[in-house]
Amino acid sequence: MIKLPIYLDNNATTPMDPRVLEAMIPYFTEKFGNAASRNHPFGWVAEEAVDYAREQISKLIGCTEKEIIFTSGATESNNLAIKGVFEMYQSKGNHIITLTTEHKAILDTCHHLEKQGAEITYLDVQADGMVDLAKLEAAITPKTILISIMYGNNEIGVVQHIKKISEIARKHGVLLHTDATQAVGKIPVNVETDGIDLMSFSGHKMYGPKGIGVLYVRRKNPRVKVTAQMDGGGHERGMRSGTLNVPGIVGLGKAAEIAMLDMEKDAVRLSALRDKLENALSTLEESYVNGNIGSRLPHTTNISFKYVEGEGLMMAMKDLAVSSGSACTSASLEPSYVLKSLGLNDDLAHSSIRFGLGRFTTDEEVDYAIEVTKTAVTKLREMSPLWEMFKEGIDLDSVEWAEH
């Protein structure tokens, strides 16, 4: 028996792996100590657990334990990386390069810094979501201090060529930060071989708990420092004050350890399931997969079903939890800026659905999702005046719409 509703929104958050929960539980109760309490066993036990988690995490991303700064999540890590680098390296320059398809935690942080004198270049991506490396290199000026480009995109799953990007950054002596929230634990990410200087990620996107994240900050070649954005007791080498979230850290450590074991087989299984879903839904007329399909996360697909609106469609996809690039609930009615950055027309952006598979997604669930989605698209198209016009051969671009 299949259990409903089915969760296919793993890019928003993942369920916690039961093995992670098990590891965390003692640190809420009997092992409750403050990791900064240096004078008694309660503190030592907590500190030991934190150190062990640093080890587990550093193995997953290929860094040393001291390079891991714990935060409350990827949003805080992104803020700390960008604001922290901007403040620390002000004497060197004020220019930062990022992409229009970044997460709001990057874009809004950059907007904030613009008010404080930063110059930000928001690079457009190509139609497949990939950054144009020549354009990136051309954007670098003597004032450039940081490039911030996400590893894997949350909406379309496109994975950037981080290694090539870091080569460009290195060549010009510019630091590279990457928001790897969707990538760490899903695909191999190694800060050494990838040449990453700063990297953000969070627990709850990799089957760990919410409320815990990491900013990796390189200590060697080059030694990178960020100005703290949270003042206080000087935790995390002075870069992030605040009592450590020990249970969260233990959970993230365990999630990293499990990822080391399961990531490869998860990726093989999930990309096969994702392809099955995508191929089945591509048999529907006028459906389009968004983003580069050669370089992307194994568990994500984003499909536009032309002539139906995403939010209305999701309502018909009963018992399926997915998300849409249509934002009919927002006052502005603006569809996804990520899809628009790919050059998609607003109507295609409004028609998009993101499917995010995860470690606990089953074959049966994907079969069910295929059937429900097909039925829903067909039902909504029968109700769609645009579909009827398309079928009558009317060019919708030639219609004069009464904008409202």
Binding site: Y307, M315, S326, S384, P385, L386, W401, H404
Partner: protein
């Protein structure tokens, strides 16, 4: 955001989905909204010689609230004279479907569609179009 039961009912069992022959003089068609905005409504009425609406059909591209608003509109239109139909206010739809503030535009679109359909019918039959006051936007 959760939908109201009435929205879900109209969405699951939409009344009067379909197409009337727009070439007929007795049929008025209103097509409002734009694909770029994520909402397009087409509302059609068939009117008898006494200017009473005998049939109403819709097709909508949009969210659940937009579909429910147009479905409800077709229900309300049937049996009304075209003058009575002009009195349908978007806030009546908001109230009936318990639409939240972010979905009020769906009801506005439905009211616009009603007016556009009536005007199409009026113009086809030698009557002057009725000016609509755009007060609810």
């Amino acid at each position: 955001m959760a939908y109201s039961e009435k929205v879900i009912d109209h969405y699951n069992n939409p009344r009067n989905v379909g197409t009337l022959d727009k070439s007929k003089n007795t049929v008025g068609t209103g097509l409002v909204g734009a694909p770029e905005c994520g909402d397009v409504m087409r509302l059609q009425i068939e009117v008898d010689e006494n200017n009473v609406i005998q049939d109403a059909k819709f097709k909508t591209f949009g969210c659940g609230s937009a579909i429910a608003s147009s479905s409800l509109a077709t229900e309300w239109l049937k049996g009304k004279s075209i003058d009575q139909a002009l009195e349908i206010d978007n806030m009546d739809i908001v109230e009936e479907l318990a639409l939240p503030p972010v979905k009020i535009h769906c009801s506005v679109l439905a009211e616009d569609a009603i007016k556009a359909a009536i005007n199409d019918y009026r113009v086809k039959n030698g009557m002057a179009p009725v000016e609509s006051e755009k007060s609810h936007h």
